[in-house]
C-alpha cells in the first residue's frame, strides 16, 4: 500500500465511488501489448468490435484505429480475431 491512499475518515461512507472508473488505469495489468502493422490493416474494425474493454478507438476522420494502452489489458482477442493477422502481441 502506498502512502497517498486515503484514511477511513477521508472517504465517503457506504463504499460510494469518489473516483470515476476511468481513474483506474487497468492497462497496467497487461504482460503483452497489441501492436498493429498499418500496412496489413484493412480497417475492417473487427478488433474494435471484439475488444471487451472498448480500448480500441475508431477515429473516423482519420479512417484509422488507435489502441488505448491505459485500459488495454492485453487479452489478445484483437490479434486472434484480426482476419489479416495485422496485430501482433508483443511482450511489454
Amino acid at each position: 500500500m502506498t502512502n497517498h491512499e486515503k484514511g477511513w475518515k477521508e472517504i465517503p461512507i457506504a463504499g460510494v465511488c469518489w473516483k470515476p472508473t476511468t481513474a483506474y488505469k487497468t492497462g497496467d495489468w497487461k504482460t503483452y501489448k497489441p501492436v498493429r502493422d498499418p500496412e496489413k490493416c484493412t480497417r475492417c474494425l473487427m478488433c474494435v468490435i471484439f475488444c471487451p474493454e472498448g480500448a480500441i478507438h475508431w477515429k473516423a476522420k482519420e479512417n484509422d484505429i488507435e489502441f488505448d494502452y491505459d485500459f488495454c489489458k492485453g487479452c489478445g482477442i484483437c490479434a486472434n480475431e484480426c482476419p489479416v493477422k495485422a496485430i501482433e502481441m508483443k511482450l511489454e
Partner: protein
C-alpha cells in the same frame, strides 16, 4: 419539555404492536416473507396497505433473501423501509444483512425470535439473532409488546441518524411476545409521524466530484458498495465500527426524547435494571425473561435477599461501560443465554459480559445459564435456583460450574 401525550390502549399481540408502529412511522416500502412466529406482522401490514390505511408499497417476494434485497434497494433510492422475519428466514438473509449494513441502508427489521433447525422447532430462543450479532446491525431486545411498539418507532430515528446510518433489528421473543395479547398504549398517528420525521441523508462525494445526498438519483449518479479491494475494504469496515461507537449516546437521546412524549422509559435505552442499586447478586438477561426475573427478585427482596436484574436492551452496540458501572457493587452475576455457542464454553451474552468486566476495577463472579432453547418454558422456580446458586457462590467464594443448563432434563 414536552408533556406526555394522551394515548389509546389497544389489545395487541407483539406482532400486531410492531405492525401498528410501522404503519404510524410513515414507511414507504415494506417487503417481507411470512414465517412463524413473525407472520402476523406481515399479515397485518399487508391488510393496512390493501385497505388504504397506509401510503406504502408492499412488495411480495419469494424468499427472505429477496425481501431484504428489495428493502435495501428501496432504501438506497431514499425510501424508509421495513421488513420482518425469524429463524430460518433470518439465516437466509445472512448475506444481505452484511450488504445492508455495508451500504449504510437504514432498514428497520423486526425479528420474532425463533430456534434454528434441526430438529425443526418454531418456538422461541435467540439462536437466530445471536448468530447475526457481527453483521453490523444494531440489535434491540424487547421485554414486552409495549416495548416492541415503542422500539420500532425509535428504531427508524436511530437507523436514519446521520451519525449512525445503520440498519436496526428489533428482536421480540417468538410466541411469548409475538402471539400474546397485551394492553399496548399507542400514540396518536400525528405524534409518531412528527417524532420519526422525514428521512435525512448524509452528504457524500461522488465520482463526479459533487457533494450530494447519499441516495440513488439520476440527476446525481453514484455507485454504492461496489468492488472494494484490499486498498479500501478495511477503511469502510472501520467506518461502520465508528457508527456503532456513535450509536449509544444517540440511542439514549432518542429514547429520552420518546420517553418525554410517551411517558415510558426502559432504563437509559441501552440497559434496564431492576432493584440493582444495592444488589449483591444479579441476573443478566435479554427479552421477555426479564419479566419473570423481576417477580423472583421481588420475592427474594421480601425474604431479605439483595437480588437484582440487569436487562441488556441493546446487545449491539454492547454498552460495555454501562455494564461495568451497573455491576460495580454486585458480587455474583448469572448471565442467562437463550442460545448455544457450541464448544464455546458458554453463550454469547456470557462471553461478552465477562469480556466487558475484564476491564472493571473489581470482578464479580460471573456464571452462565443456558436456558429456554426451542421454547422450553422458564419458570420462576428455575430463576430462583439460579439466585440460590449465586448465594452459594457468595457464601463459599467458589464457583462449582461456570456454565450450566437450566430447565434441561438429565
Amino acid at each position: 419539555m414536552e408533556s406526555v401525550v394522551k394515548q389509546k390502549v389497544l389489545a395487541l399481540n407483539g406482532d400486531e404492536a410492531v405492525a401498528y408502529a410501522v404503519k404510524q412511522s410513515d414507511v414507504d416500502v415494506v417487503s417481507a416473507y411470512p414465517i412463524t412466529p413473525q407472520t402476523i406482522i406481515v399479515e397485518r401490514f399487508s391488510e393496512y396497505v390493501a385497505n388504504g390505511e397506509v401510503d406504502a408499497e408492499f412488495i411480495c417476494v419469494e424468499s427472505e433473501h429477496s425481501a431484504l434485497s428489495a428493502c435495501l434497494a428501496a432504501s438506497a433510492v431514499g425510501a424508509r423501509t421495513f421488513t420482518a422475519t425469524a429463524s430460518a428466514g433470518l439465516a437466509l438473509m445472512h448475506e444481505i444483512l452484511y450488504v445492508t449494513s455495508g451500504c449504510r441502508a437504514p432498514v428497520v427489521m423486526a425479528v420474532a425470535n425463533r430456534a434454528l433447525s434441526a430438529p425443526i422447532n418454531i418456538h422461541c430462543d435467540h439462536s437466530d439473532s445471536m448468530v447475526e450479532r457481527d453483521c453490523g446491525w444494531i440489535q434491540i431486545y424487547v421485554e414486552n409488546s409495549q416495548e416492541a411498539y415503542d422500539s420500532i418507532i425509535q428504531a427508524f430515528r436511530i437507523a436514519e441518524n446521520q451519525k449512525i446510518m445503520l440498519p436496526v433489528m428489533v428482536c421480540l421473543d417468538g410466541f411469548t411476545l409475538s402471539h400474546t395479547l397485551e394492553n399496548v398504549h399507542v400514540l396518536p398517528d400525528g405524534t409518531v409521524k412528527n417524532f420519526v420525521g422525514t428521512r435525512q441523508f448524509p452528504l457524500v462525494t461522488t465520482h463526479e466530484g459533487k457533494n450530494v445526498p447519499l441516495r440513488l438519483d439520476v440527476e446525481n449518479p453514484m455507485t454504492i458498495g461496489p468492488l472494494d479491494l484490499p486498498d479500501y475494504y478495511f477503511e469502510h469496515k472501520r467506518q461502520q465500527e465508528e457508527a456503532m461507537r456513535n450509536a449509544p449516546e444517540i440511542i439514549k437521546q432518542i429514547h429520552e426524547e420518546y420517553a418525554r412524549i410517551s411517558g415510558r422509559r426502559y432504563g437509559d435505552g441501552l440497559l434496564d435494571s431492576y432493584r440493582l442499586e444495592d444488589a449483591e447478586i444479579a441476573v443478566i438477561c435479554l427479552g421477555s425473561t426479564a419479566g419473570t426475573v423481576k417477580t423472583v427478585v421481588d420475592d427474594l427482596r421480601n425474604e431479605g435477599v439483595k437480588a437484582g436484574l440487569l436487562r441488556i436492551r441493546t446487545f449491539r452496540p454492547l454498552p460495555i461501560e454501562g455494564i461495568i458501572k451497573a455491576l460495580e457493587k454486585v458480587k455474583a452475576v448469572a448471565v442467562m443465554d437463550r442460545s448455544m455457542s457450541f464448544g464455546g464454553h458458554g453463550g454469547a451474552v456470557f462471553h461478552e459480559v465477562r469480556h466487558a468486566l475484564y476491564d472493571a476495577a473489581t470482578h464479580p463472579h460471573v456464571v452462565n445459564y443456558v436456558y429456554g432453547l426451542g421454547g422450553r418454558d422458564t419458570s420462576p422456580s428455575q430463576i430462583r435456583e439460579i439466585f440460590n446458586d449465586l448465594q452459594k457462590i457468595l457464601e463459599t467464594g467458589r464457583v462449582k460450574a461456570p456454565v450450566q443448563f437450566v430447565g434441561l432434563r438429565e
